[in-house]
Amino acid sequence: MLEMFEYDFMQRAFVAGIIIAVLASVSGTFVVLKRYSMISETLAHSALVGVAVGLVGGFNPLWMAVLFAIISAWLIEYLRSAFSLYSDAVLAILLSGSLAAAVIIVSIGGAFNNSLFSYLFGSILSVSSEDVVTIAIFGTLSLGALLFFSKELYFIAYDEEVAQTSGIKVNFLNFLLVSVVAVIIALSIRVVGSLLIGALMIIPSVSALQFRVGFLKTVIISLIFGLFSVVSGMTLSFYFSLPSGATIVLCVLVIFIISLIINRK
C-alpha cells in the first residue's frame, strides 16, 4: 500500500493535495453559506485562461492562473456591488467567456496537448517541487486570512446587512473572500483540475451541512471529508492511472451520498 510513497512525484502530490483539501473545504464552507457555490466554477474557468496564457506565452501557468482568477473574482464582486446584477447571471457569463478565451488562446498558440489535459482534470504526475512551494506559500496566506476573519465572514454569511450595521466592513471582506477563493482554486488546478475543483470546494461543505450541527463542527466535518476524498482519490489515481481530479471528485460524491442517507428525515 505504501509503495506509492517511494515515488518522489507521489510525495509531492500528497503534500500539495493535503494542503488543497484543507483550503478547499474551509473556504468552501463560507462560499456555500453565502449561496455562492457557482463562483468556484467560474473562477476555475478564469484560472484556465491564466493557464492558457502561461502555456502559450511561456510563463509559469500556476502563477498566471492565480493572477487571472483574482482579476475575475474582483470583476465579479465589482459587477455585483456596483450594478447589483443578479450574481448567478454574472457568474454564468464570466464562466463561458473565460472558457471561450482560454480555448482561443490555446488554439492560436497551438498548445492543445497533454499538458492542457492535466490542467483540466488534474494529474498527480505533474506536480513539481516548485508547485509545492507555491501552493504551500499562497495556501498558508489564504488560510491565515480566512481564519483571521472567520467570525466576521460567518456573520456576513448569516446576514450581510445586519453585519454591516453592526460595524463589520462587509465590502472589504466580500472582496477578501472572493480573492482568497480565487487563489485557492488556481492553486488546486494542478492536482484537481479546473473542471473538477468546484466539486472539491463545495461538496464536502454541503455534505457536512447535512449533519445540522453548529458552525465549528460543520467546518471540521467538511475538513475531514475533504482530506479523506483527496487522499483516497489520489491513491486510486496512482493505482489505476486515472486523472486525479476525477477520482477525488468520485470519492467526495460517495461521501455526499452517504451523508444524505445517514441524515435523511
Binding site: 453559506l33 467570525k151 460567518y154 448569516y158 445586519v162 454591516q164 453592526s166 445540522r212 453548529g214
Partner: protein, 254 residues
C-alpha cells in the same frame, strides 16, 4: 430634551425609486432614551426609512446624521442594535446554534483572533437570559419556532450592548403571552437601561402608555410629540392613508 444632541437627525429626506415616491420630505429627530413607535400601512415606507437611517439605502435627497456625524463618518456601529423585519426567516440548514447567533452580536467589538473574553461571555449570556432563551442555547436556529428565532435575533442585538435598539415588526408570529412579556421587556430596557427604542409595529394600542412619541409613516411623516395626544393621534393614524397627504410634516415644540 431640547439641549440633548439627537442620536438620529433626519432632514428633508426623500426617496424616489423608478419615478415612484416612497418617502417625501421627512424630517425628524430621535433623542437619547426615547421610546418611539412607528406605525403606518403596508408599503408606507417604514422599513425603507429605517434602512436609510442605517445606511443600507441611500436617500434621493436629504441628510441623515447619527450622533451628529454623517453616516459615512460614523464608526461606533456597535451602539446600534438592529433587528430587521425578515430576521426570523432563516435558511433552516444554516449551521448555527442559538449561542452562535447571539455571539455574532459581539463580533465587531472583539479583537481579531482573540478568544471569547469573559466580558463577551457575560454579555452574551445576559442577553440570552433577558430574552429567556438560555435553555435553547444549543438548539439549531433552523429548528426553532418563529417566535423563538425572533427572540434570538433580539438577543444578538442586545449582546452588542446597544444604546439604541431598532426593531422592525419583531412580533410577527409571536404568541400573545410572549408579546406581553416582550412589551414589558422593552419598557424595562427603556426605563432601567436607558436604551433608546425605535419600534415599528402595528399593535400601537398595547404600547400606547409606554411610548414617548409616535411617528406615522405613509410617504410623509406625521409626528405626535405629546403623549397625551396619542389617542387622537391614533385615531388620526387609523385614517393615515388619507390624512398623511393632507397633513404637513410639522413638529411641536419640545
Amino acid at each position: 430634551m431640547k439641549f440633548n444632541l439627537p442620536i438620529f437627525d433626519i432632514k428633508n429626506l426623500t426617496f424616489i425609486v423608478k419615478g415612484q415616491r416612497i418617502l417625501s420630505n421627512i424630517s425628524l429627530e430621535i433623542f437619547r432614551s426615547e421610546y418611539i413607535a412607528i406605525i403606518g400601512p403596508n408599503g408606507g415606507g417604514k422599513t425603507t426609512l429605517i434602512r436609510m437611517l442605517l445606511g443600507l439605502e441611500k436617500p434621493t435627497t436629504g441628510e441623515v446624521k447619527i450622533y451628529g456625524k454623517k453616516l459615512s463618518n460614523f464608526k461606533e456601529w456597535h451602539k446600534i442594535g438592529y433587528v430587521p423585519q425578515r430576521a426570523s426567516h432563516v435558511d433552516s440548514s444554516f449551521p448555527a446554534t442559538v449561542l452562535d447567533i447571539v455571539k455574532m452580536g459581539r463580533t465587531s467589538q472583539r479583537g481579531f483572533f482573540s478568544s471569547f473574553s469573559e466580558t463577551d461571555k457575560k454579555l452574551v449570556y445576559d442577553a440570552m437570559a433577558k430574552m429567556d432563551i438560555l435553555d435553547l442555547k444549543d438548539k439549531m436556529i433552523g429548528t426553532l419556532s418563529g417566535g423563538q428565532r425572533q427572540r434570538a435575533m433580539i438577543a444578538r442585538a442586545l449582546a452588542s450592548k446597544p444604546e439604541i435598539l431598532i426593531l422592525d415588526e419583531p412580533n410577527t408570529g409571536v404568541d400573545a403571552a410572549s408579546q406581553k412579556n416582550f412589551y414589558a421587556l422593552l419598557r424595562k430596557l427603556n426605563k432601567e437601561d436607558k436604551i433608546t427604542i425605535v419600534f415599528i409595529t402595528h399593535d400601537i394600542g398595547v404600547i400606547a402608555d409606554d411610548i414617548a412619541r409616535l411617528f406615522t409613516i405613509n410617504e410623509k411623516a406625521i409626528i405626535c410629540n405629546n403623549p397625551k395626544q396619542l389617542l387622537s393621534c391614533q385615531e388620526m393614524s387609523e385614517l393615515y392613508g388619507i390624512d398623511a397627504h393632507l397633513l404637513h410634516n410639522h413638529k411641536h415644540e419640545h
